[in-house]
């Protein structure tokens, strides 16, 4: 007896959460402001002339290994002083500003946990350091959010990497910060834990927190929000909604795959369009390159109808974040 496996529905963001796009705007002040920030170590330039602003919502910090993402994150939390430029978080300078740190939560990539503490003790310690009125309860809630309540009373030394990661997230959440910065937060998490954590971050973003996530797993980052900050070779390569960035990439034609019953006949008609740059034919589909995507998408059904071909599928091949990223890195 087979029961239905229902596909996981990807919930559309609600109206309210649509406001929290990660970008500042009219009525939405910037929560993180970076101006002309550079960092060098002797001769080596880690980061050069960064200028951007982020608002409430989820933003992804992307870039190849060694591009300067970790350096940037450290400067955003005041752990590292920029060689030049200024960083303001929630309207205040972030350097040497302890009261501000209570409103910022950081999940760094490196380890550095005390192996002899239990998970609960560790998070409670963080709560106490933030001088929360009810540290025990706050720790309990944070641990609940990351699904670590069951294992909370075991020592950190005995945790797996995924468990340590979630405890780190808990300690960053315990004081309910307005700004949350996470460096590869999903490391070591299994698929279900990843989904749960992604949901948590999305929820926090929708609730108006500023969540900056640095990650290499682009298809996951894509699901949490569309605002991105891309750093390549120490410089800012792009910022904003990645769909909009894609639209700006007009020196790159769109590639579309059309699966149909008579690819050659349909291709013949699509090639006639002035915007079509090339079409390649496969056994069950055609892949077209077009400089005029809208016209193309309007024309596909007509072409199929005219060729009396059955249309099984239409798919844009380079619309996703992965394609946009690849393009930005290679420029």
């Amino acid at each position: 007896m087979t029961t239905e496996i229902t596909p996981t529905s990807r919930t559309e963001p609600s109206e309210a959460s649509r406001a929290a796009t990660g970008r500042p705007g009219p009525g939405v002040p910037a929560t993180i402001e970076v101006e002309g920030v550079s960092k060098w170590y002797g001769d080596k330039v880690a980061v050069s002339d960064l200028t951007f602003a982020l608002g409430p919502g989820v933003t992804a910090l992307l870039g190849p290994n060694g591009a300067g993402k970790s350096t940037t994150l450290k400067m955003l939390t005041g752990q590292l002083r920029p060689s030049r430029g200024a960083v303001r978080v929630l309207g205040q300078p972030v350097m040497d500003n302890p009261p501000l740190y209570r409103r910022i939560g950081l999940v760094p990539e490196q380890e550095g946990l005390y192996p002899f503490l239990t998970g609960r003790e560790f998070v409670e310690l963080a709560a106490q350091l933030h001088r929360l009125p009810r540290p025990r309860q706050a720790a309990e809630e944070a641990l609940h959010t990351v699904e670590m309540l069951d294992a909370a009373d075991r020592r950190l030394g005995g945790y797996s990497k995924g468990m340590r990661q979630r405890v780190k997230i808990a300690q960053a959440l315990v004081h309910e910060p307005d700004v949350l910065m996470l460096d590869e937060p999903l490391t070591g998490a299994d698929p279900r834990q990843r989904l749960a954590l992604m949901e948590t971050f999305t929820r926090l973003g929708a609730a108006g927190k500023t969540v900056l996530i640095s990650s290499h797993i682009l298809y996951e980052v894509e699901r949490m929000g569309s605002n991105v900050l891309v750093i390549v070779n120490g410089k800012l390569a792009a910022e904003g909604d990645f769909h909009a960035i894609r639209a700006l990439m007009d020196d790159r034609p769109r590639r579309v795959r059309v699966t149909c019953s008579d690819p050659r006949a349909v291709a013949a008609r699509l090639v006639a369009l002035p915007g079509t740059l090339s079409v390649s034919v496969e056994s069950d589909a055609l892949v077209a390159e077009t400089a005029a995507p809208l016209e193309f998408h309007h024309a596909v059904s007509r072409a199929a109808q005219g060729a009396e071909a059955r249309l099984y599928g239409i798919e844009g091949l380079d619309e996703d974040l992965e394609s946009v990223f690849r393009y930005l890195v290679s420029r």
Binding site: T3, I5, L62, G316
Partner: protein
């Protein structure tokens, strides 16, 4: 080919594997499961690094416990952790691993050099591993697993720490290894999209048991829905389809059209021409590996009771218990 029969292993208070029975055909197989489900225990039992309490594990016909040495000669292993000596040169280390696997030294030197080249390490192979980036280290780990021409390779989180370009290259390599070089690959990963990309089969574990196994394409069955996205004008298109007698649900610019037969494709095409809709996306909705995986995590029967097509028979229901780790 890899097989286990009623494989069980207990560590103190935790039953890491509980009667796991699985059969992995040639090709590339994804090994999935929550943390603590027994994936690493399974791999260690298959490599003969642990002895089972009960049951049997076989790799390419060799019994993992009783014929461990013969089996390991034809098996390659890429562990999750660093596992590389920092002061060896890459070439020296890969050659050493080849020799440990029984290759004579002249052959080992040549194959080490060739394998490092195949995984994309050129001149760097004469430098100490300690100075390598994460991507380069992962490649060295892959090379040492491949150098002795194994029949089976176990890869544990091979894309760990790699940036998007590195991940892509690693997956391309794994794909080539499994599908061009004819080496069976067992890939353990938490990144379902990676597994979906390269695997032919999957085995899904949960709390020490196999809850699903089968050919990926067979498991990723089609649902009775077709997804259509338009640039705008979703409503008119939906109306046109409804007039043709199809049930349509709208979510923003996305339509979900009920599928009963392939005729629906023609209906969509004609309705699009009729309303001059710009069809941006059209696809029969198919179960993703994520759907299958999540379904398998709720109260699944042991050893993945399967129906004829290899589909997991899972009780649909409330979300399962959180990942319990030993």
């Amino acid at each position: 080919m890899v097989q286990t029969t009623d494989l069980s292993k207990r560590f103190e208070r935790v039953q890491a594997l509980d009667g796991a029975t699985l059969s992995v055909p040639p090709g590339c197989t994804g090994l999935l499961g929550p943390n603590g489900a027994g994936k690493s225990t399974l791999i260690k039992l298959l490599l003969g690094l642990l002895t089972p309490d009960r049951g049997e594990a076989r790799v390419e016909g060799f019994d993992s416990t009783r014929q461990a040495l013969a089996m390991r000669a034809i098996v390659g292993y890429m562990p999750e952790h660093e596992s590389l000596p920092s002061d060896w040169m890459a070439q020296d280390f890969v050659r050493y691993m080849a020799e440990l696997h029984g290759l004579p030294s002249r052959v080992a030197i040549q194959r080490a050099s060739d394998t490092l080249f195949h995984v994309g390490l050129g001149e760097e192979r004469y430098r100490a591993i300690g100075g390598f980036s994460t991507g380069m280290k992962q490649r060295v780990k892959l090379a040492q697993a491949l150098v002795h021409d194994p029949r089976v390779m176990f890869l544990d989180e091979p894309t760990n720490g790699l940036d998007p370009a590195g991940r892509d290259e690693m997956l391309v390599l794994i794909d080539r290894i499994a599908h061009e070089m004819g080496i069976n690959v067992i890939l353990s990963s938490h990144l379902l999209a990676d597994v979906e990309r390269v695997a032919d089969h999957v085995v899904i574990l949960s709390t020490g048991r196999v809850v699903a196994q089968g050919a990926l394409r067979a498991l990723m069955t089609a649902t009775p829905a077709v997804t259509v996205r338009t640039q705008d004008g979703a409503l008119p298109l939906a109306e046109a389809l409804r007039r043709r007698g199809y049930t349509v649900q709208i979510e923003g610019q996305e339509l979900h059209v009920e599928y009963e037969s392939d005729d629906v494709y023609d209906a969509i095409r004609d309705a699009a021409v009729e309303t001059d809709a710009a069809l941006v996306h059209l696809k029969r909705r198919v179960l993703t590996l994520e759907d299958i995986y999540l379904a398998g995590q709720d109260d699944s029967p042991p050893n993945g009771a399967r129906d004829g097509a290899g589909r997991a028979v899972a009780a649909a229901g409330a979300s399962g218990a959180g990942g319990q780790e030993p």
